[in-house]
């Protein structure tokens, strides 16, 4: 299946694994425990929420919740997380958060074309990381990515 070209990397072996990003089903919210996914995802069940899994596996490695703000041609990332074992220096897989952000960027470009924008508001002490890693713009405390940066982000994460 060529449609999803996104991959995460097993840090210990360097092996790349194809992933799929799918909507979270309503029944799955009760399985998204705070001790593994850091937030209370149950309160997001009326939002648009996506999960990242390795193809062929049902284990959820990352989650993102978004809000489409069509009148501003923008998608705002409400919540984003990786699973507990993929956090910090001991993490098993790399690129989970990047793939989720790139997936949201693809939705934004598909919906809004050259006007597309993805925004988020990380805590101030981690904002610089997102600016450096994803080439985001900063406005007040809001970070955003638009054309042309958003195209580069998609091409970086979504390729064979």
């Amino acid at each position: 299946m060529y449609l999803c070209r996104m991959k995460i990397i097993d840090i210990s072996t360097g092996e790349k694994h194809s992933v799929e990003i799918l909507p979270v089903e309503i029944d799955e919210f009760k399985t998204l425990r705070k001790d593994r996914y850091f937030f209370d995802w149950k309160i997001e069940k009326n939002q648009e929420v996506y999960k990242l899994q390795i193809k062929g596996s049902s284990d959820i490695l990352g989650l993102v919740s978004i809000e489409r703000i069509s009148q501003e041609w923008r998608i705002h990332i409400r919540l984003l997380t990786v699973s507990k074992e993929n956090k910090g220096n001991e993490k098993k897989y790399d690129k989970i958060a990047g793939n989720l952000i790139a997936y949201v960027a693809k939705i934004a470009i598909r919906e809004y074309g050259e006007l597309a924008c993805v925004s988020l508001r990380p805590k101030s002490q981690i904002a610089q990381h997102y600016i450096d890693r994803y080439n985001m713009n900063i406005t007040g405390i809001t970070l955003s990515i638009e054309v042309p940066g958003i195209i580069n982000l998609i091409n970086f994460y979504d390729n064979d």
Partner: protein, 174 residues
């Protein structure tokens, strides 16, 4: 380890960017839009074209994922978007792929089916155009075309089936 250092190390465990109030949301929207409009002014024609082509590719990939049963003409609509993203005149595209402008117009307006050679030319043209934009699978146009054919045929069974079924029999026992 200080809390600040720990946060920086764990930057990608997650973000909570939910707006806490409408006031917060509105002030964020206003400031962000102002900044974006300033940046948009500096976009080049090339950057805008690339965004449009990527948008078209993503729309086509979305379309072929699932059956769509409606009366929309997807192939010709995507073709129009493709040509109009790159060319100021459709006749220039016709010239570039060596087809008569009138033939192109008939395909675009659903007055004739595209010939196989037309889709082949479109495939090669797209390969060259998308080379500097993003990955573009060469079978995409074919997939869109046949996906639409399959969806139309399946959704219009009431119209064609009664007559066709009269001509079908199973003469060998199974």
């Amino acid at each position: 380890m200080t809390e600040n250092k720990k946060n920086i190390m764990d930057v990608e465990y997650g973000i909570d960017s939910r707006y806490k109030s409408n006031k917060e949301r509105e002030s964020d929207a206003t400031a962000l839009m102002e900044a974006r409009l300033m940046r948009m002014k500096n976009l080049s024609k090339d950057q805008i074209t690339k965004a449009k082509l990527l948008q078209l590719k993503l729309k086509m990939e979305e379309y072929i994922k699932i059956p769509v049963y409606d009366n929309h003409n997807y192939f010709s609509d995507f073709l129009k978007l493709y040509i109009d993203s790159i060319y100021s005149k459709r006749s220039t595209f016709a010239k570039d792929i060596d087809v008569a402008p009138v033939s192109l117009s008939q395909v675009i307006n659903n007055h004739r089916e595209p010939k196989e050679e037309f889709i082949m030319k479109l495939m090669i043209h797209s390969e060259k155009v998308y080379k500097n934009v993003c990955e573009f699978h060469k079978i995409t146009w074919y997939q869109v075309y046949f996906h639409e054919k399959i969806c139309d045929t399946m959704s219009n069974q009431e119209q064609w089936r009664p007559e066709i079924e009269k001509h079908i029999r199973i003469s060998e026992a199974i």
